[in-house]
Amino acid sequence: MTALAWRRAAAEWRADRSRAVRWAMIVLAALPLILLWPAARHLIEARMSWHMLAEFPLLVAAGWAAQRLTSGWAPLRRLGRHARGLDWHGWSTATWCAVVSIVWMIPSALDMALIDGRVAIAKCASLWLAGWLLAQGVKRMPAEVLLFLIGNLGWMMATAGLLYIETPAQLCVNYGQADQVHTGIGLVAWALVIGAVGIRQLMRPGAGDESASG
């Protein structure tokens, strides 16, 4: 193949991959809609491990994907410019993520999300919003704020996980002891993953410099 043909093939491959990534993000952004189907929601939320270790990250990822897909829309760009004034160096994003993660690790809050539809809606909306804010906010965060976010999230998840493992009593009335222990192990694992991803983000060349403009 000539060099020109190689360049064309490479451009086509990049375009195909870009389309594939875009479709994947559309699917990811739409996936939480499955929770509107009662049978699916019951299947996922019947186990504490699936509820906390799969549904929660899915909601955050869906919010993130939705923001990335719509970041070029003019109305949202204008809204984003105003919102950036309230998220200096990603402070508000980090605070919101911390607040949301604290609330939904409380056993009684998790139980209420299964019992009361309003609490369930608040859970989904708050986690989705955390993902939306992270999609832009994390780029504004200097290393210190990113470390705070990662450290706070990782510490809370690990602590909650160890508590779930070690506590002899059943913390949630909707879930059994064995499920609680499995969830605790999963939370500790997620804490390690978040820590690793965060450190990788910090070690990237130019990490933290994107917030230099303010």
């Binding site: 004034g85 604290i102 609330v103």
Partner: protein, 198 residues
Amino acid sequence: MNPERGAPDHSSDGTRRAPLASALLCGLMLIGLVAGLHRWTDGFERWTFESRRQWQVAQGLLQAPAVDLIGSDGAPLAAWAAEPAARAWLVDFIYTRCPSVCLSLGSHYQQMQRELQQQPNTAAGVRLLSVSIDRAHDQPPALARYAALQKADSHWWRLAVPASDTDATALLRALGVVVVPDGLGGFNHNGAIHLIDG
């Protein structure tokens, strides 16, 4: 690689107002979190559903709704909604196929029944009621067999099942009773005895 990555942020974050506004927003979120948690957990004391339920019981905040029940004889049972009402009902939630918690509750109820039978004047107006959480299986014939097995004296100890799923949900939710299928055809549920009076 993220094809959606936008341009670096060149917003007006460098102005003095931006950090102040962000700090204010963060402060509001944190104050809201602390205040909300303080209220939800009753002063950071009650972090689980069961501990909140027990606190609500102690405060007299739980009210049993007037629901339709069907007794083990197949007749409607008004229980605490009856006129005249018994002075107090001691209510537990069971299902007849339960291999563990319900059998333990049953032995407690047998002891209480003996106490009531031995002091009928003192115990006048006090009744025992076991409500089934398994509407699909525990219809009156099954309840009658269970009552015979437990030696329940119908004057003191009645067994019943909610007349509809709506009644069951209303009653369980009002008293904070949570029923979770155990995946083996049975249920995990709170094993408390509820005093319904006044």
